[in-house]
């Protein structure tokens, strides 16, 4: 016998409602119903209404209690047999599209250009809405001028690639077998506070880190396909987030700037962030990142390495060991264990501590 079914649709009861809410089922799914039997209660903006079965058969629910069902949409089917196939129809309840926060959204033109240029979408992390103009800007061209692949140029001119030693690769393979879901590791040291104030300390940390990265180039690099890629430039980014979205403004060639210059640039970038005036230029091509959560009262945390980088430095809040004692704070380094190891990271942090503590209190 040919399977037949009858769809029960939501009637238009009021001109004001484009959907109704399913309050409860009066018949469970798969149960037999008689024509005219009450099957469900629905709620419009004006009243609670009862739906009746138009024919006899087996009730096959298509919506859950509490769901909004569009007027004209199917709420259930009534089939001749208990297991007759159901007609192909769109589910009336569409779950809301969920995208992770911070993930950028691209216009059609932007996406087309990104695909054409073979850019990695991750390069636009934290960028909100990305238009074609933003992609062009990243590519180092302005609309109207011929395209120049920016990323490729950066790699060619500003990165030195070196194959990793087989022992290092074996070590990474070994470590990743230990149930670690990532290959980063973390070390920290305690540093005496020198009464910089929050912004001043951040500038000093950026200034000193930039210099140290010349000594420890492995933290100013990135891993790719068995190679370590050393950046020639030292572009230090710092994480900033208030009630606005997280951004990482970049201080370019930070190793060539003096402390006053770095301090001013930090202040300018913070101001631009607060005024929503950060330009794309200030947000791309970072080679190392610093995240300072001292303003949030966090003493210790585990920062995450940014895309295309090898390490990230965390700065914790000041605390005092005793009421009269000098303040201390933690410096934390998360690093890519495929490129380096705990001892080098500790050495880097000790050097940084020594330099920061050398500032007069």
């Amino acid at each position: 016998m040919k399977a037949e079914s009858r769809s029960v649709r939501i009637p238009r009861e009021t001109v004001n409602d484009d959907s109704v809410k399913l309050i409860r089922w009066l018949v469970q799914g798969g149960e037999q119903v008689e024509a005219g039997q009450l099957v469900a209660e629905i709620e419009t903006s004006k009243a609670v209404l009862e739906l009746t079965a138009p024919v006899s058969g087996y009730l096959r629910q298509r919506a859950e209690v509490g769901a909004e069902v569009a007027v004209g949409g199917v709420i259930c089917h009534i089939t001749r047999g208990p297991a007759d196939p159901l007609p192909e129809e769109e589910l009336p309840v569409r779950p809301a599209e969920n995208r992770a926060p911070g993930e950028p959204r691209f216009s059609r033109k932007a996406l087309a250009l990104i695909e054409k240029e073979g850019l990695d979408l991750k390069r636009f992390s934290g960028r909100g809405l990305v238009c074609e103009a933003d992609v062009l800007e990243l590519l180092g061209t302005t609309p109207g001028s011929p395209l120049q692949p920016h990323r490729a140029a950066l790699k060619k001119g500003s990165v030195r690639t070196q194959a990793l030693a087989q022992t290092k690769i074996a070590e990474a393979d070994f470590l990743s077998c230990g149930g670690n879901n990532s290959l980063s590791s973390l070390v920290s040291v305690v540093c005496r506070a020198r009464g910089f104030g929050q912004e001043g300390r951040l500038a000093a940390v950026i200034f000193e880190t930039a210099r140290l990265l010349k000594k420890y180039p492995v933290f100013n690099s990135y891993y790719h396909d068995g190679n370590v890629n050393y950046y020639k430039a030292v572009n230090v980014g710092f994480v900033v987030q208030t009630d606005k979205p997280l951004k990482v403004p970049i201080i370019r060639d930070a190793d060539t700037k003096d402390l006053l210059g770095v301090t001013r640039e930090v202040q300018d970038l913070l101001l631009s962030y607060h005024n929503d005036e950060l330009q794309t230029q200030s947000l791309v091509d970072g080679t190392f990142t610093i995240t300072d959560l001292s303003g949030e009262g966090v003493f210790f945390f585990s920062p995450l390495i940014n895309y295309g980088q090898a390490a990230v430095l965390g700065v914790g809040a000041e605390t005092a060991l005793s009421p009269q004692g000098a303040g201390i704070f933690q410096l934390i380094l998360t690093f890519d264990h495929r490129l380096s190891e705990g001892r080098t990271a500790a050495a880097f942090l000790r050097d940084l501590r020594e330099r920061l503590e050398s500032y007069a209190p």
Partner: protein, 645 residues
């Protein structure tokens, strides 16, 4: 014989004569409507009243005012435009206010306001009454009959005093009046009484009986007082036959009293003259009401602080409105809901007042189809400290109540020199897209924007409407019109913020919502009420398909309007597109663009507006779509703006 009432009548006449004299000397601004010949009607009614009773009078109000208050000095100073006047010189001759006495210069509209005063007295369970003075000319005003009907049906202690002087300005009654005057009242089961000013003692008795009956029965009564105006309606507009006027002078009881009781009259007259002369001298020496009045409602652009919008309320908007009314009515028994079809079981055309009449008996009132009278009733209640909410079933019908808002409710606070507040809420659905056709789909708010002393709010999907009413019930200080787009009722608040945008609200008491793209916005899209979902859909399409980022601004408060957020946004984007669902000519968009152009023309690279086509709204859904602006129109207009600039 009671010389007391003759003394009062002589004093009133002396004031009126003096006012005519001052007018001729150019010492008054405007004109005066004197009651010479009609003095005893005010005296008779006032003599029957007690302290808590309230009076609403009309353009010819000096006699009523003096009979009730005896404030010769305050009246003369007021009409001479002095600071010491009862309304500080703001009201003048026709707009007086003092200790439970009010007057206004538009015919008919004061009647439902007086009924509202009476309603307040009744709700407060006093045995005080309200009195309204009308003339036979007022019999031409429809709102009078709306009010007679409601006053009778709701048993309001309202005394209507009809001074029948046979003329509407210069037009004789035989040209304007059909049927019988008292039969009009009888048709509404309103009791009647009669008297005339030629028999003062009998009139006093009739007035006393009328007041007593209203007070004890708590029902309305129409007291017709036949009288005759001996001077012109105002000035230089008397075309009555001189013989007719002369005959009435001879019949005038005050003239007869002066003839028959010369000695007593001379004493009273001298006292009246002395008092009036002194009052004029006192007023002359008082300061003029001067000083820049400025813009009552604009404080200039205000820079806002923006905060990310928090969690939003759940449920359909009709339910959110309902629960706000419920919780506020539980908290404050001064909240009274009046409207058509709002009681259970129907609960209003959009179910906002569902079952509230069961929980709050007597505080949710079904009314006849009388929009003007309903708003007037609300105004009277509000003047007495209640928080009335008048529901107009469809915004289109608000036109029927325009006089009540424009000439009454919004004016009182200013013209009575701050002596009254009118915390009245009028709420009404506006807007189309429902196929209701030309008379149930309009967005008429532009006709009610810009009335000094008023507030206009437009609810939208990114603002909890319950919180809006909570705020109103907590701090309402003025007549407030709340526009509720009719698509809102069945809808829920929009929760999801479009990906890549930030939703923020300004720190205004009735905030502006802002949807800000994370990127460089090139266009400010300003809309309100029901246009917000269209604007949001357009903004998403403009980004996805056309690479254009726009910032959306959606103010909750349309008047008084803070242009600050618009200026702030236009400085960033350089382009402004205003979208509204109503007609565009002389409307909100025109005003906003004019303000931006006046404040900061240099910020504007491009400006445009979208509004309904200049066309009645057709019922057919397909045709309606072509008349009302939608997201496709916005996308098209925005693209052309970017293309051209």
């Amino acid at each position: 014989m009671d010389t007391g009432i003759y003394g009062k009548a002589l004093l009133i006449r002396e004031v009126e004569r003096k006012l005519l004299e001052l007018f001729e000397q150019g010492r008054l601004s405007g004109t005066v409507h004197t009651c010479i010949g009609q003095e005893f009607s005010g005296i008779a009614v006032a003599s029957a009243l007690r302290e808590g009773d309230l009076i609403f009078s009309n353009h010819r109000c000096h006699g009523h005012f003096l009979a009730r208050t005896d404030d010769v000095e305050g009246l003369i100073a007021e009409i001479m435009g002095k600071r010491s006047g009862v309304c500080g010189g703001r009201g003048g001759s026709q707009h007086l206010c003092s200790r439970g006495f009010f007057s206004n210069g538009v015919q008919g509209g004061i009647v439902p306001v007086a009924a509202g005063l009476a309603f307040a007295l009744k709700l407060r369970k006093t045995s005080d009454i309200a009195v309204v003075f009308i003339g036979d000319g007022t019999l031409g005003e429809g709102v009078l009959y709306e009010t007679l009907n409601i006053a009778s049906q709701w048993e309001l202690p309202l005394l209507l005093v009809l001074e029948n002087n046979l003329y509407s300005q210069s037009t004789p009654q035989r040209q304007t009046l059909a049927g019988d005057i008292l039969a009009r009242a009888a048709a509404f089961a309103v009791a009647t009484g009669q008297g005339n000013t030629w028999e003062p003692s009998a009139l006093l008795a009739a007035a006393a009986a009328a007041v007593q009956r209203v007070r004890t029965s708590s029902r309305p009564l129409l007291l017709k007082i036949d009288t005759y105006r001996l001077m012109a309606h105002s000035k230089g507009d008397d075309d009555r036959a001189p013989e007719e006027v002369k005959k009435h002078w001879q019949r005038d009881p005050l003239s007869r009293f002066v003839l028959e009781h010369a000695q007593a009259a001379a004493g009273l007259q001298a006292a009246a003259t002395r008092r009036v002369t002194a009052a004029v001298a006192q007023a002359e020496s008082a300061g003029d009401s001067v000083g820049k009045q400025g813009d009552a409602d604009a404080a200039g652009p205000r820079r806002c602080v923006w905060a990310a919008s928090g969690d939003r309320a759940e449920g359909r908007i009709a339910e959110l409105l309902h629960s706000s009314f419920q919780r506020n009515m539980r908290r404050d028994e001064r909240i009274i809901l009046i409207g058509e079809d709002i009681e259970a079981p129907y609960g209003g055309a959009f179910k906002v007042t569902k079952d509230l009449s069961l929980e709050f008996p007597g505080r949710v009132r079904n009314a006849p189809l009388s929009e003007a009278a309903l708003v007037g009733l609300g105004t009277g209640l509000a003047m007495q400290g209640f928080f009335p909410v008048v529901e107009i079933m469809f915004g289109d019908f608000l036109a029927l109540a325009a006089d009540q808002l424009i000439n009454h409710a919004v004016k009182f606070h200013y013209m009575y020199n701050g002596q009254v507040r009118v915390p009245l809420i009028v709420r009404t659905p506006m807007g189309g897209r429902r196929g209701y056709g030309p008379t149930h789909s309009q967005s008429l708010e532009k006709h009610f924007l810009g009335l000094p002393g008023s507030r206009v709010l437009a609810l939208h999907r990114r603002q909890d409407p319950g919180a809006v009413y909570d705020a109103l019930f907590k701090g309402i200080d003025r007549p407030t019109l709340v526009i509720e787009n009719k698509l809102l009722y069945g809808a829920r608040l929009t929760k999801e913020v479009p990906k890549g945008f930030l939703l923020e609200h300004s720190d205004d008491p009735f905030p502006t919502a802002r949807l800000r793209p994370q990127g460089r916005a090139e266009l400010t899209l300003l809309c309100y009420g029901g246009m917000l979902p269209e604007a949001e859909a357009a903004a998403e399409r403009l980004f996805e398909e056309h690479d254009v980022l726009c910032e959306i601004l959606c103010p909750l408060q349309l008047y008084p309007f803070n242009i600050g957020p618009v200026l702030e946004s236009v400085r960033r984007t350089g382009r402004l597109l205003v979208v509204e669902e109503g007609l565009g000519f002389a409307a909100f968009g025109a005003e906003v663009i004019a303000q931006v152009a006046a404040c900061e023309p240099q910020s504007l690279k491009a400006v445009a507006r979208l509004a309904a086509a200049a066309h009645p709204i057709p019922a057919c859904a397909a045709l309606e779509k072509t008349v009302l602006p939608g997201s496709a129109h916005i996308v098209e207009k925005a693209r052309s703006m970017l293309h051209e600039s």
